[in-house]
Structures are given as structure tokens and as C-alpha cells.
């Protein structure tokens, strides 16, 4: 089997699973359906692992086309794969998390009428995500980009009878349209100026310093005559796409609402994989982004803002999934910060560690939700560690990894980001440094607030009424008065344990090869800035980094965050109420509860403006011009014409024959020289 075919199997197995399960109708039993879907993803995971191992052992990067889709105007549009270490790592992360989520789904979606539909969707998602990361050109990247978007849309609205779910998926869809619009424009600019959509061809045009100088000095005129750096325009537009997909401020508002979808997809799509597509894309395009300091500074500032301010929102959430969702937003901000300071490798490193521990946290949250009979309000929980021991331990591991406890996976990637920001000198890096340092405290605080409220303290589920509104499914409304929470079944616990292992260890193992640049090799280009060089010089092994942490600020900030959460939510809850009312009197809580009024801005300001513009187009363009003049006008014309033609169209043979003869006469007119001259004059004939 040649290599291209081998790589093709990786995305094709989940696709076949999705098609078989999705189109089989009632032919397959539930067991057969999930067996097929899981087998497809498992096969894909094993092959991905082999790809990574092979590349690690020195196999060269693969870049080849499977087939030429079509050639238009000299531009080849191909379907092909670029498999280097960056791709291989993404493939393994995507297929591993996906496999875990597939297994978990057996338990979580048990008895749901859409059981098979769900499996079909998540397998289809796996296929789309693999096509995105394995692509060797922009067109296929865009295909994968949109395909994961579609599946995300379908899954957020999976329980399509709930109005909130439909609102959420529409919101996700519309916000992503904004991002994709920019992305598409960016791709268009690339095609226009580089003359190709193929990565290798494009990067080949920027690989020497003379070429880089040429492209950096090239400008285009926007809005008439304002000159703008071409590469800056391309990078900013591409990054708008990344902002939509990776939920960066101000296009972040869809991600918290996406929690309306079933929990397994929150773990897979809205935490581990799809939302990191933007990060991956920027890392993949690093040879372009490196050329634009303006774009990098923009990325840095947006990322830092997301990292800090979305963290604040995590503090006041009471829905267990929303806490994790805001934490995801904040962590995506950290990754974006890493991209902004040209530490792409570390950004992708954090993407990987985050995929494991955030998927773990989401799946653990799902397990808690099941244990609580679909009550998601953390104020109704408490003391769950006795009832759900495995969920408790794995959640603790996930939370420790998230806040950056030394030796845990999140520590290596997050500390490296902080170091990289400290080493960077580009515009905005001091603001970003403040944001990521402050973010450490915030992260620790909201993570352990949730952890303590859920697993420690008193059992509160008996002391509240049955009025909690955040039910996950219409049939379930929390525990009945006599019930206690119960541990989930093994299909749910197994993925938790399997994800806890990398959450603990992957950072320690992978850090050395990432810091010294061995991991990604030439897949990522960051030579224009020396951030990575400084970071790798300061790195003296995983253990040394962990020991050094005890003498650095982030560790103590994280610790104080945990202690603060313990004091306020376990030791002296009355103290917490006082502090909360103090902040409320300052109006800060109100600001946070309204999510900085971003949603208000969109719904009450932007949407009316957009719809009123739309109304103008509708009234003038559609109703008046198209409907009135073109469609109805044409219909009237056709009506009149048909009245005339119906004289011949009565079904009599002589009428038909007459029409034929008339036609021949019309053609005869061409014979006469006069007609020909007239036609030539108006350009109808050569």
C-alpha cells in the first residue's frame, strides 16, 4: 500500500463509520451502530499513532496529492495530504479524544432516541477534523473548516425540540459566518497574490530572506487608496477566521451557549478539537504570520484579553458546564497568546495538553451530571466525592493539570507560554504578560471553586427545592428527594481514566522535545523572532523546570487561587457571601453576569443594524427589483408570450409542423447577407 492510500484510510474509516451508521436507518441495532462507529475511530487512532511513531523515527514528511479535483483557469484544485509531525500530533490527539468520547457516549446517550444519529455525527466530525488537519492546501482546509462547523451546528442543536438549543446553534452558526467571511477573503488574497492554494508552493515563495523582504514590503490599497501591508492583510483576515472558530473576543459569544449540546460533544468539539482549529491553522501558516509584526501584536492582544476576561466570567457561573466552557475560552486565549509571541510550538503544545485535561474535565462534568440526574447547578451538589470516587479523582487530576500544578501536563505548556511572553518584545507583550500571570490566579480560583462546590462540603441536593431550571434533558429534573448520586458505569469511567493518564504525564514526556524544536522540526517556522530560542535556552529538563516552579510567581499565584477558593467555599462560606455582596455593590458582578454586555451589544445593537440594512436590500433589491421587476415581470412576460405561443400549442400537429417550418424560415434569414451584417454589427457573430 503506498503512503497516500495509507494516509487516506485515517479519515476514511470514521467517514465510513458515519455513513454506515447514519444511513442504515433501522437496519442496525444500537449495539451494532456503536460498534461500527467505534471500530472506525479506533482503527483511525491506531493508524494515526503509527504515523506519529514513523515520523518520530525519522520517516520524511509526506506531501502529496491524492487526486486533482478540478483544474480551473490553470489553478489546480487538489485533494491531498501534508503529513508532518505537526499534522501527526494533531491526528493522534483528535482520534484519541474522539475515541474516548465515542466510548463515553455509549453511557451518556443511552436510551436517547437520537442515539445512532449522534454516533453518526461524531464520526463525521472526526472525518472532517482529520481532513482539516491533514490538508496540504487551503481549499481542503476550508472544506474541513466548514465541515466541522456544520457538524458542530448539528450537534449544538442535537436536541432540536428545545428552543434554547436552536437559539444556540443559530448563534454559533451566525458568529462563525463572520469569522469564515474573513477567512475566505484571506484565502482569496493568498490565491490572488501567490497564485496557488498549495501550502508548499506558497511557503516556497517566502523561504529566503530576500523573498521575505519582498513580501513584507508589498502593499495593497484598501478602501480606495490606503496602502496596507499585503501579508498583514492576509494574516489578519485569516486570523478573523481563527477568531470565529477558536472563540476569541469579540467572536467568543457562541461558545458558552454551545453547551446546549450533549456533554460528549462539548468535550470533543467545543473543548478538545474543533475550537483549536484556529490555533492549528495559525501555527500551520507560521511562515506567513512571522512576516507581519502587526498581525502578531493583534493576535497577542486579542488572546491576552480572552485569556483574562473570559476567566473572570468563569467565577460567577453556576452551571457546571458553563464553568468549564469559560475555562476553555480562557485557555484558548493562552494558546493565542503563544501564537502572538511567535511561540507557535508552545501554543500547539498547550493545545495538546489542554485537549486531554479539558476533555477529561468535560467528561467528568458529564459523569457528575448523570450522577445528579441531569441537574447541572453546582450549588445543588457538594460532597460528591463519597458517591462518585472515580469521577472525583479524575476531576482532581484534570483540575490540577488545568491550573498548572508542577509535573502535571498543563504546567509545562502554560508555564512555557508565560516564559515566552516574558521573553517577547513585540508590541503588547507587557499587557499580555500581566494578563497571563493574573489569569493563573483566576484559573486556579474558578477551577477549585467548582471542584470544592461539587465534590466537597455538605450534600446540598436535598436542601433545595425542585425549581432548578438547567436540566440537560426534558425527561430528567435532578434527583428525587430520596435518591443519592451514583457513580457512572464503566463505559463512562474508562475514558475518564484513559484521559487522566495523559493529563498527568504528557507534559513531562513531551516538554523536552518541544522546547528544543525537535518535535515539530520544519513544520513550524518561528525564526523571525527569538522567543523560542530564549525559552529553549532556559529549559533544562522537565524535572528541573518543575523544581524551578516553586520559586516562581505562577506557582504561588495558583496556590493562592486554590486556597482562596477553599476559604470562600469550604472553610468560611459566610465570608464568601460578604465578598460577593461587596463586589455586587461595586457593580462588578452585574457586569460579569451580563458577560460584559457583549451579547446585549450583538442582539440589541448589531443585529438591528444588520437587519435594517438587510431590510433595505430585501425591500429594494429583492421585493422591488428581483421579485417585482425580474421574477413577476418575467412571469408576466412569459404569460403574454405563452398566450401567443399557445396559439400553436394546442396539441395540433399542423401547429407543431408550422412552428418547425417557421424555425427553418428563421434560420433561412441567416442566409441573407443583410441579417449577417446586422448580427456582426451588434457583436453576435464573428
Amino acid at each position: 500500500m503506498d503512503k497516500a492510500t495509507f494516509y487516506l484510510l485515517v479519515p476514511l474509516l470514521p467517514l465510513m463509520g458515519a455513513l454506515l451508521v447514519g444511513l442504515s436507518g433501522r437496519l442496525l441495532s444500537f449495539v451494532a451502530a456503536h460498534t461500527i462507529a467505534i471500530a472506525g475511530v479506533a482503527g483511525s487512532f491506531l493508524l494515526s499513532a503509527k504515523v506519529l511513531v514513523d515520523l518520530w523515527n525519522g520517516q520524511p514528511t509526506f506531501n502529496g496529492n491524492l487526486y486533482s479535483w478540478i483544474t480551473i483557469d490553470g489553478i489546480d484544485l487538489n485533494v491531498g495530504f501534508l503529513v508532518d509531525k505537526l499534522t501527526a500530533m494533531m491526528m493522534v490527539v483528535v482520534t484519541f479524544v474522539s475515541l474516548m468520547v465515542h466510548v463515553y457516549t455509549i453511557g451518556y446517550m443511552k436510551g436517547d432516541p437520537g442515539y445512532k444519529r449522534f454516533f453518526s455525527y461524531i464520526s463525521l466530525f472526526t472525518f472532517s477534523m482529520l481532513m482539516l488537519v491533514m490538508s496540504n492546501n487551503f481549499l481542503q482546509l476550508f472544506f474541513g473548516w466548514e465541515a466541522v462547523g456544520v457538524v458542530s451546528y448539528l450537534l449544538i442543536g442535537f436536541w432540536f425540540k428545545r428552543p434554547t438549543a436552536i437559539f444556540a446553534n443559530l448563534k454559533a452558526f451566525l458568529i462563525n459566518r463572520v469569522g469564515d467571511f474573513g477567512f475566505l477573503l484571506g484565502i482569496g488574497l493568498v490565491l490572488m497574490h501567490f497564485g496557488s492554494l498549495d501550502y508548499a508552493t506558497i511557503f516556497g515563495q517566502v523561504h529566503t530572506s530576500e523573498m521575505q523582504q519582498f513580501w513584507m514590503s508589498k502593499t495593497i490599497n484598501l478602501l480606495g487608496s490606503t496602502p496596507v501591508g499585503l501579508i498583514t492583510a492576509i494574516c489578519l483576515l485569516l486570523f478573523v477566521g481563527a477568531m470565529g472558530k477558536s472563540a476569541q473576543v469579540p467572536l467568543h459569544v457562541w461558545l458558552p451557549d454551545s453547551m446546549e449540546g450533549p456533554t460528549p460533544i462539548s468535550a470533543l468539539i467545543h473543548a478538545a478539537t474543533m475550537v483549536t482549529a484556529g490555533i492549528f491553522m495559525v501555527a500551520r501558516m507560521s511562515p506567513l504570520f512571522e512576516l507581519s509584526p502587526v498581525a502578531l501584536s493583534t493576535i497577542l492582544i486579542i488572546g491576552a484579553t480572552t485569556a483574562l476576561f473570559m476567566g473572570f466570567l468563569g467565577i460567577i457561573q453556576n452551571d457546571i458546564k458553563r464553568v468549564v466552557a469559560y475555562s476553555t475560552l480562557s485557555q484558548l486565549g493562552y494558546m493565542t497568546v503563544a501564537l502572538g509571541v511567535s511561540a507557535y510550538q508552545i501554543g500547539v503544545f498547550h493545545l495538546m495538553t489542554h485537549a486531554f485535561f479539558k476533555a477529561l474535565l468535560f467528561l467528568a462534568a458529564g459523569s457528575v451530571i448523570m450522577g445528579m440526574h441531569h441537574d447541572q447547578d453546582i450549588r445543588n451538589m457538594g460532597g460528591l466525592r463519597k458517591y462518585m470516587p472515580v469521577t472525583w479523582i479524575t476531576s482532581l487530576i484534570g483540575s490540577l493539570a488545568l491550573i498548572g500544578t508542577p509535573l502535571f501536563s498543563g504546567f509545562y505548556s502554560k508555564d512555557a507560554i508565560i516564559e515566552a511572553v516574558a521573553a517577547s518584545k513585540i508590541v503588547g507583550s507587557s499587557y499580555a504578560y500581566f494578563a497571563v500571570i493574573a489569569g493563573v490566579f483566576i484559573t486556579a480560583f474558578y477551577s477549585f471553586r467548582m471542584y470544592f462546590l461539587v465534590f466537597h462540603g455538605e450534600n446540598r441536593w436535598r436542601s433545595h427545592g425542585q425549581d432548578h431550571g438547567l436540566a440537560d434533558s426534558e425527561e430528567h429534573h435532578g434527583l428525587s428527594p430520596g435518591d443519592d448520586p451514583h457513580e457512572s458505569s464503566w463505559v463512562v469511567l474508562l475514558p475518564l481514566i484513559a484521559l487522566a493518564i495523559p493529563s498527568l504525564s504528557i507534559g513531562f514526556i513531551a516538554a523536552p522535545s518541544i522546547m528544543d524544536g525537535r518535535m515539530f522540526g520544519s513544520a513550524i517556522y518561528s525564526d523571525m523572532h527569538d522567543t523560542m530560542r530564549v525559552v529553549s535556552e532556559e529549559f533544562h529538563g522537565s524535572l528541573a523546570m518543575a523544581v524551578h516552579a516553586f520559586s516562581s510567581a505562577p506557582f504561588w499565584l495558583a496556590l493562592s487561587g486554590v486556597v482562596a477558593a477553599w476559604v470562600l467555599y469550604v472553610w468560611k462560606p459566610s465570608f464568601g457571601v460578604n465578598i460577593s455582596s461587596f463586589f455586587r455593590s461595586l457593580g462588578i458582578v452585574r457586569l460579569l453576569e451580563n458577560r460584559y454586555y457583549m451579547d446585549h451589544l450583538y442582539i440589541h445593537v448589531m443585529t438591528p443594524i444588520a437587519t435594517s440594512i438587510g431590510r433595505v436590500f430585501w425591500k429594494v433589491g429583492d421585493v422591488l427589483l428581483i421579485d417585482g421587476l425580474v421574477v413577476n415581470g418575467a412571469a408576466k412576460l412569459v404569460d403574454k408570450m405563452s398566450k401567443i405561443t399557445s396559439l400553436f400549442h394546442r396539441g395540433y400537429i399542423y401547429a407543431s409542423a408550422f412552428s418547425m417550418i417557421l424555425g427553418a424560415v428563421v434560420l433561412l434569414l441567416f442566409w441573407s447577407a443583410g441579417t449577417k451584417q446586422i448580427l456582426a454589427a451588434i457583436g453576435l457573430s464573428h
Binding site: 479535483w69 400537429i653 407543431s656 409542423a657 412552428s659 418547425m660 424555425g663 428563421v666 441567416f670 453576435l684
Partner: protein
């Protein structure tokens, strides 16, 4: 230049000879067979179609072989189109079987006439002189006239057949008149000599153009382009659905070959003249076909007008006139006929005895009654409308880019605008299937029929995902046939 034929020429005629012999044998066998379901006849016909297709492939030649004293040509182009026609006729027999059985119309004539019709198409595809062209055309037409009238008790079918026959005779008359003019002008019936003599400039231009006009009129009738289209809606609606399917698919391939042989190969010197005539036909067909289709409630009639507009599109490639344009036309014709046949196949899957299912209303709520067939019909309609990722898009794209590269931007804009109008009635079928409610029964069609129709419809998607190989096949066939 022209040498007498020798027996070696016969080797190039294997598919035609095979079809002729097997049609005769099947005719005789059918006389003695007492089987009401005609199983033997059915399978033998399919077998002989399969062998004919294989013989066509096996007899593929690199460069064009002109045999029988210049009467007949075997090249890549004819190979491609003959193979396509044989497959299409086979599909017609497969799709139509249940329909014929249900309505006790299953007579041996169906099979024998189909085979003779196919033989006619083969001859048309390979003909290289006026005489053979006309012979092939009449063999095909006579078979079709008889097949339309297969239901002797159905007055609509008889009426359709009569109209088809009379108008067809008129068109044949025009064609023959045009041919006789050209014969008079050039003194030869062989296309190669006709084109050579015109190129030498010894012919009277008046005779030439007069002949050309009548030839184009005859061609336009066979293609069903406006204003020679009047028979199309009546015949489509009146004929039994499987026969409509036959008329709408394979003969279009033969007709395209007919046009290419006559105009592109036979009369290249008169290119400017026939180009402008084809523009008139093409524009009129695209406009009238798409606009009239909107008003139709009967699906077969709607597909008839849709065919008219598709033939207009197909002509666009010939208007470009170069190898690329001809290849685009052939690709368009192939895509069109395979799309149409799967559309009719789905229509047939929905019919029962006494229920033709040929009204738009019969498609209401199909997604509830047979979600799979609804999905397949959706693919067919999307492909016909030219929505990307389906092969119909690439067919339209290739003909439109062919004319744009020759400077006919206005024609391209018009074609795109009207395909937009056309999208309306294709998508209306989808809307009716997926969003309207229905009180009709669950569809119960034979599994094998469903399988074939599904593969057929799914191929439209597959070919849309990998169009390049199919486009290359057409381009290569044209390059090797017209240039090499």
C-alpha cells in the same frame, strides 16, 4: 482516395454485427418462448448489451479508422458514446422491467426494438457519410415510434406516437433535402470528401448554406431544440415511462455524435454559419425550456422541458467549436443522460399498477414514505440544477468556460441566469418531497431496482467529487478523434 472495402473492415464492425445477430436471435427465441415474464428474453438482451459494450471497449482504436470506402468511422469518440449508449439502454431495460410486468406490456418487441434502436445509435455514432448517417437515424427513429405506441389501448400514447412519427418524417424530409443540397454542391456523400471540397472553395456558397439550414433544422428536431421541440413534451408525457426514459437518454448521445460528425467534421468550412445558427437554437432552447418547465405540474412534462434546456446547454460547447468545446459537449451529454435516467429510474420506483406517480403532487412527503429514494431524487435534482459537488455542476461549468474562452460572455451570462431560473423547478421537487405532507402509502419498490437507482444516483455525487478523470476521458477521446 476511396478504396473498395475488404473483409478486414468487418472486424471494426464487431459490436454492430453482434447486436444485429443477437437481436434477430432474441426475436426468434421470443416467438417460441411461453414465459409470461420473459425472463429468458430479458437476461439474453442484457447479456447481449453487455457483450456489445465489451466489444466496443475491446475494439478501441488509437487513431480514427475509416472503413467501408469512407462510409463508416471507428474512433475513440464513437467508442465512448457507443459504450455509454449500451449502458444506458441496459439500464432502461433493468429499470423498466417491473413497470412492463405490472401493466402486462412485457412483450418481446420491447427488447428487440431496444436492441435495433441501439444498433441505429451505433450506426449514427460511427457514420461518416450522409447515407449511413441517415440509415442509422431512421433505424433508431422507427424503433422509437413503435415503442411509444406500445400500449395499443392508450389513446394518449397513440396520439404521441402519431405526432412523433409525422413530425419526425417532416424533420427527416428537411434533413434529406439539406443533404441533397450538399450533395449537389459538393458531388459527394462522404463527409471527408464534402469537407475537402468545401475547403478547396469549388462549391457554391448559396447551395452550401441552404443545405446547411435544412440539415441544422433536421438535427434540431432530433435534439429537440426550440423551435423544433414541439414533439418533446407530448411524447415524454404520452409514452410509457420506461420508453420516455429511453428516448430521453441514449438517443441524445447518438444525436450529439450526429451533430459532431455532420457539422464539426463534415462542414468545418461553414463553421461561422452553423455557429450562429446553433447560437439561435441554443438561446431559444435555454430560455423556452427553463421558463416553460416552471409551469409544469406533470413531472414527465417538466423533465421534457428540462431536456430542451439541457440540449441548449449542450450546444454551447459546439458553439465554441474547438476540441475543448466539443469535449465539453460530450461530457455534458453523458452527464445529462445518466442524470436523466436515474431521475426516471426513481420515478419508476414510485409507480404501481394503475398509479403512474408522474405528477408533482405524487412526490409530496416522499421523505416520510421512502427517505432513501427521496435522498436519491434530491441528488438527481441537485445535479440537474448544477449545484456544486454534483457532476451536473461540472458539466455546466465546462460548457460555459468553453464559450467564455471564445469571447461569448453574454451567452455565458444568459446561460447562468437561466440555469438559475431552472434551479427553481428542480428545487421545487426537493421542497415538495421534504416539506409537504402526504397521505399516500409507503413506497414499495423492488430491492434490486432501488439498488441500481441508488448506485446510479450516487455516481452523480462520486463523479462530482472526482470529475477530472471523466473530463479527461472526454477530452482525450475528442483529441484523438478530431485531431489525431
Amino acid at each position: 482516395m476511396i478504396s473498395p472495402w475488404n473483409s478486414a473492415d468487418l472486424t471494426f464492425l464487431k459490436p454492430e454485427l453482434w447486436l444485429l445477430c443477437s437481436a434477430c436471435v432474441i426475436l426468434l427465441l421470443d416467438l417460441v418462448s411461453k414465459d409470461q415474464r420473459k425472463a429468458v428474453t430479458h437476461w439474453l438482451s442484457l447479456l447481449s448489451l453487455g457483450i456489445a459494450a465489451i466489444l466496443v471497449l475491446a475494439g478501441g482504436v488509437k487513431s480514427p479508422q475509416i472503413v467501408f470506402s469512407g462510409m463508416y468511422v471507428v474512433d475513440q469518440l464513437s467508442g465512448l458514446l457507443k459504450f455509454g449508449s449500451a449502458c444506458l439502454v441496459g439500464l432502461v431495460l433493468i429499470y423498466g422491467r417491473q413497470y412492463f410486468i405490472d401493466r402486462s406490456m412485457l412483450t418481446g418487441e420491447v427488447y428487440v426494438l431496444s436492441l435495433f434502436g441501439l444498433l441505429g445509435m451505433f450506426v449514427m455514432t460511427s457514420a461518416f457519410s450522409f447515407l449511413t448517417l441517415y440509415m442509422g437515424l431512421e433505424l433508431l427513429s422507427l424503433s422509437l415510434y413503435a415503442m411509444v405506441a406500445l400500449r395499443k389501448d392508450d389513446s394518449l400514447a397513440i396520439e404521441a406516437s402519431m405526432k412523433y412519427f409525422i413530425l419526425g418524417a417532416l424533420a427527416s424530409g428537411m434533413l434529406l433535402y439539406g443533404m441533397s443540397m450538399l450533395y449537389g454542391a459538393t458531388g459527394s456523400l462522404h463527409l471527408s470528401e464534402v469537407s475537402a471540397r468545401i475547403a478547396q472553395g469549388q462549391t457554391s456558397r448559396d447551395f452550401l448554406v441552404l443545405g446547411l439550414i435544412f440539415i441544422v433544422a433536421g438535427i434540431a428536431f432530433k435534439l429537440g431544440t426550440v423551435p423544433f421541440h414541439m414533439w418533446v413534451p407530448d411524447v415524454y408525457q404520452g409514452a410509457p415511462t420506461p420508453i420516455t426514459m429511453l428516448i430521453g437518454s441514449a438517443p441524445k448521445l447518438a444525436a450529439v455524435a450526429f451533430v459532431i460528425r455532420l457539422l464539426v467534421q463534415g462542414l468545418p468550412a461553414a463553421f461561422v454559419d452553423w455557429q450562429s445558427m446553433l447560437i439561435v437554437l441554443s438561446v431559444a432552447s435555454i430560455v423556452v425550456g427553463n421558463v416553460a418547465a416552471i409551469a409544469q405540474q406533470n413531472i414527465k412534462r417538466m423533465l421534457a422541458y428540462s431536456t430542451i434546456s439541457h440540449m441548449g446547454f449542450m450546444l454551447l460547447g459546439l458553439i465554441a467549436g474547438d476540441a475543448g468545446g466539443v469535449a465539453a459537449s460530450i461530457f455534458y451529454a453523458l452527464v445529462y443522460s445518466f442524470t436523466t435516467i436515474s431521475g426516471f429510474g426513481i420515478l419508476l420506483s414510485l409507480t404501481r399498477t394503475g398509479f403512474e406517480s408522474d405528477n408533482l403532487a405524487n412526490f409530496k412527503g416522499l421523505v416520510k414514505r421512502s427517505p432513501w429514494l427521496a435522498l436519491m431524487m434530491l441528488m438527481v435534482m441537485f445535479s440537474m440544477a448544477g449545484i456544486p459537488a454534483f457532476v451536473g455542476f461540472f458539466a455546466k461549468l465546462s460548457v460555459i468556460s468553453a464559450i467564455v474562452s471564445h469571447g461569448f460572455v453574454w451567452l455565458a451570462v444568459l446561460a447562468v441566469a437561466f440555469s438559475l431560473i431552472g434551479a427553481f423547478y428542480y428545487l421545487r421537487v426537493v421542497k415538495v418531497m421534504f416539506f409537504d405532507d402526504s397521505d399516500l402509502d409507503v413506497v414499495d419498490s423492488p430491492f434490486s431496482l432501488k439498488c441500481f437507482v441508488s448506485v446510479n444516483a450516487l455516481l452523480l455525487l462520486v463523479a462530482g467529487l472526482i470529475p477530472q478523470p471523466f473530463l479527461s476521458i472526454c477530452a482525450d477521446a475528442v483529441n484523438l478523434s478530431l485531431l489525431g
